[in-house]
Symmetry: C2
Amino acid sequence: MALISPSRRLRRTPFSDGVEAAGVSAYTVYNHMLLPTVFRSLEEDYHHLKHAVQLWDVACERQVEIRGPDAARLVQMLTPRDLRGMLPGQCYYVPMVDETGGMLNDPVAVKLAEDRWWISIADSDLLLWVKAMANGYRLDVLVDEPDVSPLAVQGPHSDDLMARVFGDGIRQLRFFRFGHFDFQGRDMVIARSGYSRQGGFEIYVEGSDIGMPLWNALMEAGRDLDVRAGCPNAIERIEGGLLSYGNDMTRENTPHECGLGRFCNTATAIGCVGRDALLRVAKEGPVKQIRAIEIETSSPPPCDRSWPLVAGKKPVGIVTSAAQSPDFGCGVGIGMVRMTHWDEGTELMVQTQDGVFPAMVHEEFWYKKQDVVA
Amino acid sequence: MALISPSRRLRRTPFSDGVEAAGVSAYTVYNHMLLPTVFRSLEEDYHHLKHAVQLWDVACERQVEIRGPDAARLVQMLTPRDLRGMLPGQCYYVPMVDETGGMLNDPVAVKLAEDRWWISIADSDLLLWVKAMANGYRLDVLVDEPDVSPLAVQGPHSDDLMARVFGDGIRQLRFFRFGHFDFQGRDMVIARSGYSRQGGFEIYVEGSDIGMPLWNALMEAGRDLDVRAGCPNAIERIEGGLLSYGNDMTRENTPHECGLGRFCNTATAIGCVGRDALLRVAKEGPVKQIRAIEIETSSPPPCDRSWPLVAGKKPVGIVTSAAQSPDFGCGVGIGMVRMTHWDEGTELMVQTQDGVFPAMVHEEFWYKKQDVVA
């Protein structure tokens, strides 16, 4: 593997000093920011995540803050999910689409108040889309990227660790709800959420200066829980069917193709710019869809490109993420498969840069310990 | 330095096979795509670029294609540069700004026809801004990212190499003009342009399938010219004062702060959404501006964050890019300095993660062999 060249453009985070001290060994780049991908090894990080508790520098989940009288209207323009029933204190997973129904991002919307929202984004400059929408439609809003950097606490011991730093009240936080908690006199928005199936929280750290004090306090408080620096784990997220924007879906795909039809209320999401385009697909269903793909090999190569899925010589889909699963003893993948071949148990072949392997389509992912979005 | 984790989200390019075969040792990520940064070493690549000829995989300079009756109107909305005199066949360097005059990108606009443009972008998802503008203002255009991947040929032997593959006609191509040339029956838009001060061309390769055939043909034709795989070189571009969006300027900055006032015609660029905001700064001038910063050290650390520039204890600017220059025998940097301290020869101190070094402000960059933008 090649090195990553440091530059200011690949932004450091408020937690980078902690990440480096913990011995990060690899990064990716996400929203023009460094996102750790490996500490000890992908496998060791994976086992630890499933049995202990980790701090994740996910500052790269940047926020698009929308404030002003037209805030709620603007957020509804961005997504086919009906937001009318959403209350302050709730987080919603919201597919965001362009005027053709193509996915622009799959963020979490955090409703701070009727007139103040954070959109916690995946890897695309959604800020530019939202700003131009506000400008083009002459909406009465301010749109900006605030100094807010999420720090995730993930793993089975998350509640115990968080309670030591924020008090036992945090245990009562419901899934995809957030509350306000105090740390050293600073208000922190904390949600029960995160990009793993192991449970945990995301702390929306407002103000870069408090980043390392919080990191150090959590590390100190969790010493006997074997807390470690970690990061979204490629194996675990594929086992759990957690999609990654840019990997498993792009602007080419509708939410329905991504299996996100349940987050689309095209009948009632009045104002969404992609609604018209999605009405038909919502009615008839997509012709291809995300599936779990089991790959018969003990060491799949890095999935750094789309791998064609073929039935005989006929292309019927692609694999977009893959890894070797220690717990399930097989290659695990995420792919997009045409309806003719998307049924459970369909046998296909997958063409990788290192050769062709047998693959099997599954309708369910491997790991469903708990929901991860609401 | 840490490794970079492969994934489909960090897109490969049509030239990646060639880049890997040439032994790339480091990458950055640019427009969600791999951009090589080092082959043999930063210094060896640098000397070779100045004396021979290199192929650069700059596919990450993605194109935003704008087609339709409102294309010219939309492009003018994006930039404060007056485009009325621009002819098909010309390339313009165009600062692009939001409604506050903040820089969103500093692309090259390629005018293919009155109703068809490519915007060859720096590192931000300008596509989302342009698409939302088109939607919000109900413009009659199609906006998309086509399968076009620039391949740059840079260095003093560029003309000789290009003439061997495209014919002697290419030598007549004027600076920042483009022409249509044939390669294996395929039409190629080729411009005399590029992100170095060493001269050369950018080939807008349309169709990924022709990428490696072209790469191989150029490599073969240039064997006796010592052609090598190369990439934008951090040392050379700083010596030459070539700005990098995300490094040396961000949405926080106006074009005037970036020294790009000469590309802003705020009096006549009717329709530019940032025009009103820029009128005042155009009249009064900015209070801080890009400068060359000489740093007194023989080995500056990686400039992976803003380095404060101080006069005594007073912060008066930042350094945003830096390297050690073999040819000029000093640390070379790019920074943004307040007007109180931006005069030639001003002595400051620069605070890096590895200590504090003396720095001197210069009004001219080190290397001005030829212009790089028009």
